[in-house]
């Protein structure tokens, strides 16, 4: 007799525990405000990433097409994966002096592990992270990017 009572009470408490779980899931049917799902490809336009988000390394240029990179190569030394390659050239300033300037600042996105050491160690704050996160391309060669824009120059006052 006792075992039958125990059996029935176990069945009832088991069913009760299942109902308690269903109550939680069921309650979300009547609380649409608790749903947090975002419709990603549709909400692209108003999707705002955090300002510190590490998308990809870029070299910010101002409106006169000037950047802050002096071509010192510290980012290249600090990169653990060989992502960055700085190719420099020698230019002659209007005063007639020879000076080092960047020819190409090559950034290989496919090798980057987003450790942020290049951005942190840059002595002239020439590098930054963009908020771009859609990196998929059809051709691997498109992942090799040149950070400095064509015809850009060093910003005045940056040494």
């Amino acid at each position: 007799m006792r075992s039958i009572v125990k059996y029935i009470s176990e069945v009832l408490s088991g069913v009760w525990s299942l109902l308690k779980g269903m109550k939680v899931t069921g309650s979300y049917f009547f609380r649409p405000s608790a749903i947090v799902t975002q419709k990603y490809p549709e909400n692209r336009k108003d999707l705002v990433m955090f300002e510190r988000f590490k998308g990809e390394v870029i070299m910010p240029h101002n409106e006169n097409n000037e950047h802050r990179c002096t071509g010192c190569g510290i980012c290249e030394i600090n990169c653990p994966n060989g992502t960055i390659e700085v190719i420099t050239k020698t230019i002659i300033t209007p005063e007639g002096k020879k000076k080092r300037a960047i020819d190409k600042h090559i950034y290989r996105l496919s090798m980057c592990s987003f450790c942020a050491l290049c951005v942190k160690t840059c002595p002239s704050n020439a590098l930054a992270f963009s908020q771009e996160f859609e990196h998929a391309v059809f051709d691997r060669s498109k992942l090799i990017k040149i950070s400095n824009k064509p015809g850009s120059q060093l910003m005045k006052g940056v040494e």
Binding site: S13, G14, V15, S17, L18, K20, G21, K23, V24, T25, V36, F50, R52, F53, K54, N78, P80, S113, F114, C115, A116, L117, K120, T121, F129
Partner: protein, 374 residues
């Protein structure tokens, strides 16, 4: 060979070898388990590892100390902050640098947030392993809030690399404290839902209670650490035993159970989430003022010698052992990863249980495969 075949035939049942993984959702990564079965009963489990071996320890030998940090993110990716911290603490210990309180407190808050999100994902996937798909959605929904906190302050969601030798990469975001408080308020309300959904569920309890018992002696003998060991009553919390960062100024109790079965390994993690929230609440309102990083030399060279630092990750004790010969690169780096050691009891625990229980047991060990292989 013939003798073996003869025996198995006379036994009435032949041994059946089943290959689980390396691409199987319930092994949580590329772990291959070769299971010998007698009917549905597991007789032997042979884990095959190495499918995601990247040679991180060897790679460290050619990198400088700040560069090593980002590799440790990729070992136990759910405890990325704590792995970073372990290397940083070791380098700082070797250089004998005093770290300001602000850095210690922020590191501790971040470590506890990491622990919460790791256990949330454990809850989500453990529920899914046992057939409750709802858990997966609820767990990931709440984990998203922690990842948002990380993304706002560190710039990364899982691969954060926020610590660096001598401090932090940047100061905390101005909205950090508000966001953490909001999360704790929110999570205190949703954590009871977890209990209602899974902890009290009769099917879940039947499938986990008394399954895969690990005794205290076995846990110590195998070197098991973390929640898995604390469920068996082995008091091994490094935060208590050897306080690092800001753990010496916090009041908290180690979560301990003595039963050591799958259900109690699960309960330890549930209680640790509550405990981590208590720790964060003690610290979040009194983050001291000060610099967020100590000025370091551009090239860090450790003095010649051997250094060891251990920390408590979400899965157990992580040890970082560095041998330096005085150069800017370490001579040798060894990581004592908790998951590799915890995997060693899987065979012992699952012997004699059914194949479905094997999934429950391996889920309750909460294995992260990249940390096993490194």
């Amino acid at each position: 060979m013939e003798e073996h075949l003869k025996n198995s035939v006379t036994d009435g049942q032949e041994e059946y070898v089943l290959n689980i993984g390396p691409q199987h959702p319930s092994t949580h990564g590329v772990l291959r388990l070769v299971a010998s079965l007698r009917g549905e009963i597991v007789t032997n489990i042979e884990p095959h590892i190495g499918y995601i071996h990247r040679g991180i320890e060897k790679m460290c030998e050619s990198l400088t100390y700040p560069q090593i940090i980002h590799l440790t993110d990729r070992m136990d990716y759910l405890s990325a902050h704590i792995n970073n911290e372990a290397v940083c603490l070791n380098v700082e210990k070797a250089l004998e640098i005093d770290i300001p309180d602000r850095i210690k407190v922020i590191r501790t808050i971040m470590a506890e947030l990491t622990r919460i999100q790791s256990h949330q994902l454990f809850w989500a996937t453990f529920g899914m392993d046992l057939g409750g798909l709802t858990c997966f959605f609820y767990g990931l929904r709440d984990r998203e809030k922690v990842l948002d906190i990380f993304e706002e302050t560190c710039g990364g969601r899982m691969i954060v690399s926020y610590n660096c030798p001598g401090g932090l990469m940047h100061d905390i975001h101005p909205g950090f404290q508000k966001r953490v408080k909001e999360f704790i308020e929110y999570f205190r309300k949703t954590l009871p839902e977890y209990d209602q959904l899974l902890t009290g569920n009769v099917i879940f309890r039947e499938r986990t209670m008394g399954i895969g018992k690990l005794t205290l002696g076995e846990a110590i003998a195998h070197g098991i650490t973390g929640p898995t060991a604390r469920a068996s009553g082995f008091s091994c919390d490094v935060r208590k035993k050897e306080p690092y960062s800001a753990y010496d100024r916090i009041k908290f109790n180690e979560v301990l159970f003595t039963e050591g079965d799958t259900y109690h390994r699960y309960l330890v993690r549930m209680d640790e989430m509550r405990q981590s929230m208590d720790i964060i609440e003690q610290l979040i309102d009194n983050i001291p003022e000060g610099p967020y990083a100590v000025k370091m030399k551009p090239i860090i060279r450790l003095p010649e010698g051997e250094y060891y630092q251990r920390v408590e990750t979400a899965r157990g004790e992580l040890g970082v052992y560095i041998i330096s010969d005085g150069n800017k690169n370490p001579y040798r780096v060894k990581f004592r990863s908790p998951n590799f050691v915890n995997l060693s009891v899987l065979n012992m625990l699952s012997k004699g249980f059914k194949i479905a229980d094997l999934i429950a047991i391996s889920g309750s060990l909460d294995l992260i495969i990249p940390d096993i292989d490194r």
